[in-house]
Amino acid sequence: MIEIRINGEPLSVPKGASLQQALREYLNDEQQQLSFAVALNSDFVGKSDYESTQLQANDSIDVLFPIFGG
């Protein structure tokens, strides 16, 4: 297992896990249907690359959702 962070919270995932696996761990099935976008270590990762992006220890994932703004 390796330790990563999602939205600042610690999460353990298997070594060699993909970004898609981590997101499945963090979001339930219903939440995965919502609109969200992802950055890995402050770089944008498009939806089509979730499966092929392999995580490393101490990676930091941001999962962002739409919210009001000015």
């Binding site: 939205n7 600042g8 963090y26 979001l27 339930n28 939440q31 919502l34 609109s35 969200f36 976008a37 992802v38 950055a39 402050s42 770089d43 944008f44 498009g46 939806k47 941001d62 999962v63 962002l64 959702f65 739409p66 919210i67 009001f68 703004g69 000015g70």
Partner: protein, 264 residues
């Protein structure tokens, strides 16, 4: 009277924010009442267990649909060009738009944009196909540089975000209008009351972006209508050609045949 944003014609010159309203329903009603066709919104981390964000997002979509409008994602909270670029890419994927209200803040006290990071971010984003609407200070040279980078729309502040202080420096704003006659200029931030928006339009600005002035009003729906009317009045006044100020009084009623003249 239409507003042209990167080739898209809009019926309203008002761009409106979706934050700070007492409730999502009131936000939707105020946006609809404003007749604005551009609504700003953002992206944030959220606890997936909380559904609040989704509710707000649903209301924003309803309001935009009702006004046949467009979403304008912002990069609020970003302090570097790199952060703004990443957030912009994330916004583009979610909202399916290349429009971006670019904010890169340089000072936490007055939320003043960082001109150096702003220019750098603009360059990166324009190269990646974004249509950038940069939020900037009322600095003429900065506005010129943004225009030179390809920004067809430039959004100088009236005063710091959320202050409601109105047009702090009308001279600067008028100079920007004068020196960049072909740019689409939208006054963004610091608007407090409808007359502030009207004044900007009378100066020849193309539009106004505001949020707090409507959201924090006692009656946001009524205030949204007031702003819609104020913008229309100011824009019509500008197009009609405002008279020159004069140093001396001139009677508006003819003096010839004045009754009682030289009597008593």
């Amino acid at each position: 009277m239409s507003l042209n944003i990167y080739g898209t014609r809009l019926n309203s010159r008002l761009l409106i924010g979706s934050a700070l309203y007492p409730s999502p329903e009131l936000m939707k009603n105020a946006i609809v009442a404003s007749r604005s066709q551009v609504v700003t919104l953002s992206l944030k981390r959220q606890n997936p267990q909380q559904q609040g964000g989704q509710v707000i997002w649903n209301y924003i979509q309803q309001a935009v649909q009702e006004n046949q409008g467009h979403l304008l994602p912002n990069t609020a909270g970003c302090k570097s060009a790199k952060e703004a670029y990443t957030l912009a890419q994330m916004s583009r994927e979610i909202f399916q738009t290349d429009w971006l209200k670019l904010e890169v803040i340089g000072d936490d006290y007055n939320l003043q944009p960082d001109p150096i990071e702003l220019l750098q971010a603009t360059e990166m984003l324009m190269a990646d196909g974004f249509k950038v609407l940069p939020y900037c200070t009322d600095d003429l040279v900065l506005c010129q540089r943004l225009y030179d980078l390809g920004c067809q729309v430039i959004m100088p502040w009236a005063s710091p975000i959320g202050t409601g202080k109105g047009l702090m420096n009308p001279y600067n704003l008028e100079t920007i209008r004068l020196r960049l006659p072909d740019a689409i200029l939208i006054l963004d931030a610091g608007i407090g009351k409808p007359s502030d928006a009207c004044l900007a339009m009378e100066m020849g600005y193309d539009g106004v972006l505001l949020n707090s002035a409507v959201a924090l009003a006692d009656n946001p729906v009524k205030m949204a209508q007031a702003f819609a009317n104020a913008l229309e009045a100011g824009a019509k006044g500008y197009l009609a050609g405002i008279m020159q100020q004069r140093q001396t009084a001139h009677p508006s009623t003819p003096t010839l045949d004045t009754p009682f003249w030289h009597q008593g």
